[in-house]
């Protein structure tokens, strides 16, 4: 399985990528929404995108809206991984088309549980 990790923090990209790679994912990284869209336009379509909210150039909400506006990317699962914990923001992200929402700070177990809910945990990890 493939995952695109989108966060303006290099440290956070490394942490999230490392966690997902531990679950068997092949990962790529993007520093903001536009860079992530460029990856998708290249044709590298992941099963999962993890998306920070506050980023320069294009924020996470704009990215979610852009992905949802493209029928060719309908199969991509979008998971917000962000410190934006306000209830109204969570509702906005889900309404825009995000499938799941993980609050920073998170643990590897929290990511694992969300992936299991989404059916995106490789079987050998789920066992």
């Amino acid at each position: 399985m493939r995952a695109l990790v989108i966060d303006d923090s290099r440290a956070m990209r490394r942490i999230v990528s490392g966690t997902l790679e531990g679950f068997g994912y092949e990962t790529r990284q993007a520093g903001h929404g536009q860079e992530a869209l460029d990856v998708l336009h290249e044709g590298w379509l992941p099963e999962l995108c993890t998306i920070d909210w506050n980023m320069p150039v294009m924020d996470g909400l704009q990215f979610v809206s852009a992905v949802r506006a493209n029928p060719g990317w309908r199969a991509v699962t979008l998971m917000m991984v962000t410190s934006e914990g306000e209830q109204s923001q969570i509702v906005r992200a889900l309404a825009a088309g995000a499938h799941e929402y993980v609050l920073k700070p998170f643990t590897a177990d929290a990511i694992r549980d969300k992936l299991a809910l989404l059916g995106l945990l490789p079987q050998e990890v789920a066992l």
């Binding site: 290099r10 956070m12 942490i15 934006e84 306000e86 920073k104 700070p105």
Partner: protein, 167 residues
């Protein structure tokens, strides 16, 4: 209507709890912030995020530069490069401020806007009465987390200092 000051909205225990959660999840499961004040050295680094809403201000994390490097290594764990670049340290420190700031914002009245993390010399405390500060030790090294208000552009700064509690 007068904007609230931060001490009306949250207390030090809440800031400490938010920081504890951030430390345990990001820095390491067994990493603790001991709520004991320590003395910062002359060479400090700060990171902060701005919150704009019914209460506006910044959430500032300040520590000594070598503490910032150790924090970065702890945060990145096995993903840390052999040689840390200054950008790695700024990025890690900024992300810690971002996570603490985002969770502080979540307990404040909304809607509020959270800015992008910035790193540099600590922003000045403009109103001690509108500041909630936690001093702590991490691995015996001092650091501070300060939630400090920004005066409204048209506000008269004088009232903010009435009954102000010196830091």
């Amino acid at each position: 209507m007068t904007a609230p000051v931060i001490t009306q909205l949250l207390d030090e225990a809440t800031v400490q709890e938010i920081a504890d959660q951030a430390w345990s999840a990001l820095v390491g499961e067994d990493e603790v912030l001991v709520p004991v004040p320590g003395e910062l050295g002359p060479d400090t680094r700060s990171s902060w995020v701005e919150i704009v809403g019914p209460w506006s201000g910044t959430v500032v994390l300040t520590c000594d530069r070598d503490t910032a490097e150790e924090l970065t290594r702890a945060l990145l764990r096995e993903h840390a490069p052999a040689e840390l670049e200054p950008e790695d340290v700024d990025d890690a420190l900024g992300e810690l401020a971002n996570v603490v700031g985002g969770n502080v914002k979540a307990v404040l009245p909304g809607p509020s806007f959270l800015g992008l993390p910035e790193v540099g010399p600590a922003p000045r405390v403009t109103s001690p009465a509108d500041t909630c500060r936690v001093d702590a030790l991490w691995r015996g090294r001092p650091l501070t987390i300060s939630v400090q208000g920004t005066p409204a552009p048209d506000a008269d700064p004088a009232p903010s200092y009435e009954n102000g509690v010196p830091l």
